[in-house]
């Protein structure tokens, strides 16, 4: 028994060694794949699709399913990914994104004829690699695929509207001597259908829960359609089941920067010790909010609007939780509250905690006009001018308001500069 376990251990460790030695570094692998995708997209009649695919089929299983960890190399990959798709204003509040899908099925490359399966794999890889290095893309694409265009459920029209810009579809159709609608119908029986299978109302919910589940869905459709595909092991390695969670986690850790101004209106509930303080309604004006990573700093001036307006200057520090379209800030802070009475004013230190829920409504790329609800509980060491006695008072503010904010992932800021409106330039032409 002992010997058996020893042998087993030996086998395991040898395999571990070999398997490890065989692995390809994520940065090197992704640089090659995105480099090839960019190379093929930039030259009109590239014949290097199969070169990439052959490599993927034979050596893709050695790849590690992770994001390149080296910051400088990753930034370059972000920029290359940015060249691989177009962005157009959509009907919804989000922009539509269109990757530069390749068409090479049936063509000869290096003495081999490309199949529909090759074409499907290539475009799946394209979508996947862009999404991997551009979280904004992944998010926008999810939003786009989620909704039926004009309520239509016809596959060809979904394809025509969601996978291509009208011009691109027209150009490709012209080059193949077809009409755009014919091309869309053709595509609905070849690789493009993989993007739209299983659009049952039940299946859809889960598919569009996370930003990356749509890619995984295309992957599953591919494996279902081509169960014996030569790419199978490579796909399982490159896009393993866990990767979409990894990406989501990565996005959470991605540093971003957000800066906003706003105001709010509401009512306050005061404890009995403060009942002499006048208030017809409460306003938070102005409010300034700064967020870096998940840390929030907020300045806020709360006003008790009445005949004699009392004001309170607050400084909050806190942590922000992100739930897709919603955000919750949990904050604590200190401030100075001054109460104005008929013939006296008092200044009091106050301590508070606050929870704030914001619904993010994007207006444009980086700007958000966000309604919010805020609850502040404030403890004041109240210096009562009437009884001339110090005592604790508690105030609850309930405030509704609006924040106008700019919200930019820091990596995205740099990408935008060099990508220049998704100009399709070769990776070597990208300014460092």
């Amino acid at each position: 028994m002992n010997r058996l376990s020893f042998i087993f251990l030996l086998i395991l460790s040898t395999c571990g060694l070999i398997c490890h030695a065989e692995e390809i570094d994520a940065c090197v692998f992704d640089q090659y794949v995105l480099g090839m995708l960019n190379e093929n997209a930039v030259s009109d009649n590239s014949t290097r699709h199969l070169e990439l695919l052959d490599f993927i089929a034979e050596h893709g299983h050695k790849a590690k399913a992770e994001i390149c960890a080296d910051k400088e190399q990753r930034e370059k990959l972000n920029r290359i990914a940015y060249t691989l798709y177009d962005e157009k204003k959509g009907d919804t509040e989000f922009n539509n994104v269109y990757p530069k899908y390749a068409f090479f099925a049936g063509q000869e490359e290096d003495g081999k004829i490309a199949t529909n399966e090759d074409n499907a794999m290539y475009n799946l890889l394209l979508d996947y690699m862009i999404a991997k290095y551009d979280n904004q893309y992944a998010f926008q694409k999810k939003e786009m695929l989620k909704k039926h265009p004009d309520g239509s459920k016809i596959l060809a029209s979904s394809i025509a509207q969601k996978l291509f810009t009208a011009e691109r579809l027209m150009n490709i159709a012209t080059s193949l001597a077809k009409s755009a609608s014919e091309l869309a119908i053709d595509l609905s029986t070849s690789w493009a259908e993989l993007w739209f299978q299983d659009e049952s109302p039940l299946g859809r919910h889960e598919k569009f829960d996370y930003d990356y589940s749509w890619v995984m869905n295309v992957r599953d459709n591919f494996l279902q359609k081509y169960p014996n595909s030569r790419y199978k092991t490579a796909i399982m390695a490159i896009m393993d089941d866990n990767i979409s969670n990894q990406f989501t986690q990565y996005d959470r850790d991605d540093s971003y920067f957000s800066f906003g101004f706003g105001f709010s209106l509401g009512k306050s509930l005061k404890s009995s010790s403060l009942k002499k303080v006048d208030e017809s309604f409460t306003a938070g004006f102005p409010e300034a909010r700064l967020q870096i990573h998940n840390f929030v700093i907020q300045f806020q001036n709360d006003l008790f609007i009445a005949k004699k307006t009392s004001s309170s200057f607050d400084l909050f520090l806190g942590y922000s939780f992100d739930f897709g379209k919603f955000r919750a800030d949990v904050m604590g802070g200190i401030g100075l509250t001054s109460f104005c009475f008929e013939n006296d004013t008092t200044n009091n230190m106050s301590y508070f905690g606050s929870a704030q829920i914001v619904k993010k409504l994007p207006v444009g790329d980086i700007l958000y006009l966000s309604p919010k609800f805020q609850w502040v509980v404030k403890g004041v060491r109240f210096d009562d001018p009437f009884s001339n006695r110090k005592r604790w008072g508690v105030i609850n503010h309930f405030l509704f308001g609006i924040i106008f904010e700019a919200h930019v992932p820091l990596s995205k800021l740099n990408t935008k500069d060099s990508g220049k409106n998704h100009d399709l330039i070769r990776r070597t032409s990208i300014r460092k």
Binding site: Q31, G35, V42, S46, T47, G111, N414, D423, I425, S429
Partner: protein, 425 residues
Amino acid sequence: MNMYRIFTFVLCLFSIGLAQPAEIDVCDFDDSLAILLIRSVQSHTSHSEVLDYVLQNSLSVNHEMCKDEYKVQAISAKVTRLFNTSKTAKNVKVYDIAYTKYEHFSGKEENGKTFSDEDNAAYNIVLDYIIAKYDKHFANVKRNMLSEALSGKKSIYGFNSKLDALLDELQTSKISMIEGISSSELRSQWESSWAGLWITDVPPLKKYNENNYEWLQTPSRNFITKYPESPYTPVLRALFNDTLMQALANNEEKHEIQLYKEDNRHLAFGLGFLVGKPLLGDGLEAEKAKFSAAIPQGRLQILRFVAQVQCDMYFHDGLTAVGLNGLLGYNLEFGDYGLDLLTGIGIEQFLEDKDSTVYKAYSFGLQGYKRIFFTGFGAIAPRVQWTLKTFKYKSPETGRRRRVYINQFYIGATLDIVVPFSEIH
């Protein structure tokens, strides 16, 4: 029986005589060579077939231009399979990047024969030769790439080394992943094996750029120097004969390679301040200024045109004079550095104890800056400025008006928002 043997022998002699009628047609030779190369490059095998073919046949061919139009067209179409093309950007019209599909087989074995660096070098030289002979644009592009890399200047190609012009980065990284060694190691292996011939002992750049085929002859020359006894030496001498090279050069593609031009047009808005020292000219003895500050300074740049508003304040014991200037000008930019040439008008107000005087002033300015980007659009721009201001000043002592000058030297910084033009529409 004996008769039969003799007969066979004679027949053999005769057929050999027929098979080698002194010369093979150059078009046929090139065509067969192209076909063999395509097969070999696509399968990464049959290297010895190519080398044997060249060794056996090339000396019995008069290597000149193929004159048969149809055959030239056919061979030209074939050789496009022997290299990869790319563009520096999608909007570039024809390809401006070409990478020959060089083979790397030195040290490998095929049919019991182990290849040497010499074999590998000869193979790749012949590969370049056949493409360049039948593709003018390839020759031109390759000349441009190599000479950019050899010049060592930063170019749009983004070369970091001379080898980058020769070896396709994607191919290198693919092979390095397959073989499990780093790509830099792989590159240095190839460089010492064969690629060095392309980039060492290169004629001076002026000569190198004289025609589109000088780059092609360089590795052949280096090969002959390195391996004078090699069986390939006479082959290369024949292939690269002076008459053919001259003919190719006479017939070369003339126009320059069009590369991607970065769209540097932008719109910039800046707000900042300057501090400095004014030198009051003769005639302004009555006025005093220890230092001056320009707060605020606003600058708007659209393409090359600049409009600037600046409020100069002179201090001695408190504020002594204020000048408000509007300047218009032209901008020159060199990467992140820029220079503004400015001229404008404004008013100059001197604050006396109980009174103030106002003059209309003309100014000329020169301003240099460097933009330090902290995000995509935002930059801090430290700057130096020299402005010359002139106006007709009424001296409080003599009561006479005369022209005076003020020289202002400033250093400061602005916060710039720079938006590329392509982002706006």
